[in-house]
């Protein structure tokens, strides 16, 4: 109730303040993994600086976010600005829902402070800019420096070194005949395609949509299957493990390496202290591949007051505010200033992210990709890991999806 009253008071204030200048409201949609509603502070700071604008920020459930966004656009009640990802861009452009903001970005003083390449990554196929980056993550490898040191191992740079290290790290530490540390925490459940992709898609001659049945690509899948079935360096539950399980096992010391982004760094440090560090994923078959997680903001073409909407989204990507925003989401700020002063995550994780940026990729922007992520990959991977199908058959299933 308190929030609503505050909101009411704020809009009354805005109303009186707005007598002088034009007064407007910006409806903003976002989704956060952080349940504690951290957007309020940003909104009130913004409204203090811009008394003529009221921001209504609405937290939309992630799993219905895009459904709901599309419905509201078609239904004529779209928000004025929204948090958006690259995969939705072609659709939103086709719907005519996005406002080009290239000119605004060019004349915006915050532009130079944005980290290099981020604006190029978010540019649309037609060459215009519709997105303003607001946060990003890149996947890298977490490892246990203490275990590496104990066994005299180096951080693996290639898949071969990775396999050797993983085998060495898989140990029975208390001599009870049971393995209690596994080399790598593999995510075999939904969302684990990034792990598989790092071992597979970096290889020369492997491409998810074009030639996933090539020798190189099959070798990647075979590599993963062998690690589990031949070497036994993944925990036995690997085929079903999701995010929580892989991260939980690493924190509990049951695995010595795993792959994830900076979002889980603080939790790991809390559990393991200095005994956790990070490095880019190994190079496999002549190349590296890791996943890039993007998040931008956009002004919708239906916005009544586009200047106000732009003011709000550019506010979020300005130094300081962007740091506040990312402290809430646990991801990385897009501004150079905030990056240099970034203290939310220990430096080693920020560096691993930066080192991984050159070979970070988005999954191909195709409608089939959501099926790949949600059904085809998890099912095929689980069956391959349990030996129901071979690596060739798994890749053939993916090829079939993309050939439709």
């Amino acid at each position: 109730m308190r929030q609503k009253t505050l909101g009411l008071a704020a809009s009354l204030l805005a109303l009186t303040a707005g007598m002088a200048s034009a007064e407007s409201t910006v409806r903003f949609w976002y989704h956060f993994d952080n349940a504690d509603n951290p957007m309020d502070e940003l909104v009130s700071t913004f409204e203090e600086q811009n008394p003529e604008i009221t921001v209504e920020a609405e937290n939309i459930p992630w799993n219905s976010y895009y459904d709901n966004l599309y419905t509201s656009i078609i239904g004529g009640n779209a928000p004025d600005a929204a948090m958006v990802k690259m995969f939705a861009q072609p659709r939103l452009i086709e719907m005519g829902a996005l406002e080009p903001i290239g000119d605004r970005i060019d004349s915006w003083e915050g532009k130079d402070d944005l980290q290099d390449n981020l604006l190029e990554l978010t540019v649309a196929e037609d060459g215009s800019s519709y997105y303003l980056p607001v946060q990003y993550v890149v996947l890298y490898m977490y490892y246990r420096p203490d275990m590496f040191e104990e066994l005299g191992l180096e951080v693996p740079q290639t898949c071969e070194e990775f396999r050797e290290a993983a085998n060495a790290l898989t140990r029975d530490t208390d001599d009870d005949g049971q393995t209690d540390v596994y080399g790598f925490g593999f995510r075999g459940g939904k969302g684990g395609h990034d792990h598989w992709a790092s071992f597979t898609l970096g290889r020369e001659g492997a491409d998810l949509t074009d030639n996933i049945e090539s020798e190189a690509a099959v070798a990647g899948t075979q590599f993963v299957v062998d690690l589990f079935r031949e070497d036994g360096v993944f925990p036995p539950s690997a085929p079903n493990d999701g995010f929580q399980e892989t991260i939980g096992a690493f924190k509990a010391g049951k695995t010595a390496m795993t792959i994830h982004h900076i979002g889980s760094a603080n939790g790991m440090v809390e559990a393991l202290g200095d005994k956790v560090s990070a490095a880019p994923v190994p190079e496999c078959g002549g190349g590296r591949w890791t996943a890039y997680g993007d998040e931008s903001t956009a002004v919708m073409s239906s916005a009544e007051d586009k200047d106000a909407a732009w003011k709000w989204i550019s506010f979020l990507s300005e130094a300081g505010n962007n740091a506040l925003f990312n402290e809430a989401t646990g991801q990385l700020p897009v501004t150079k200033t905030d990056r240099d002063e970034w203290s939310l995550h220990p430096k080693r994780f920020v560096e691993a992210t930066a080192e991984s940026l050159p070979f970070a990729n988005l999954l191909p922007n195709r409608p089939e990709t959501s099926d790949f992520v949600n059904t085809v990959w998890p099912v095929a991977m689980q069956r391959a890991l349990t030996g129901e199908i071979t690596a060739e058959e798994m890749n053939a299933e993916i090829a079939e999806l993309y050939s439709e």
Binding site: A35, N77, A249
Partner: protein, 278 residues
Amino acid sequence: MMALGKRSLRRRLLTVDLPMALVLVFTLGPYLWMFVTSVTPESRLFTEGPSLVQATIDNYTRLFRTVGFGDNLLDSFIVAAGTVVVGLSLSVTAAYSFSRFSFRGKRVLMLQFLLINMFPLVLLILPLFVVMRILGLLDTHFALIIANSTIAIPFSVWMMVSYMNGIPRSLDEAAMTDGCTRLGALRRVVLPLCVPGIIATGIYIFITSWNEYLYALTLGGQDVRTITVAVQTLIGEYEVQWGLLTAGGIVGAMPATVLFLLVQKRLISGLTQGAVKG
């Protein structure tokens, strides 16, 4: 006498209490498991698994303090209670009409109500969204009450018809010959007799709209955010907030359960009191 009493007690324990306990274990097991999850500290959940060791109510305090679950409960309650009132009053009169009159188009009209419930909701959302936008009702309790009522009315009408058919027509006809009007007969004779039916139907409506998600998400918004939508925001892109989610589930199930506890006596009394018995 003593021996007989003992035997019947044992018999009761075996035929009633024991099976009842088994059904309740099946019913409550998952709920209790959920409770245990909700009081397990987040840090232990994925390392040790849910347990009562180091139990904490952190999730509950967070739920109300920072997530703002109290507001959501209030919104849900307004919507559900409003739907019960609108849904019941519209459907009781309709059901009386179906039960006591024969008229042209009766069969078609009754089937019409069924048809409404058969159509997958998801495809109705977009047109409904547009209608509500034009009427300026988006993000109001009223929009959700009306939308939920349409889900509830068909069911309520059919349910009430079958209850009312169980009440002898002779009773209201007698009342009418004694000088009551039709509506008087409905109010004085039929309604008191279908109290159990009305309560069961009311509970159904309450629970259905309490748990409704799709309409709440699309037609609600900043001002009206029901618990189903609030709970859904706990399922993030990268992580599910298990602790908060289960705490939300535990709290979310309370109102309907308490409500049922309060009204269940009425459900029992129903027909045993009043005219039929005499």
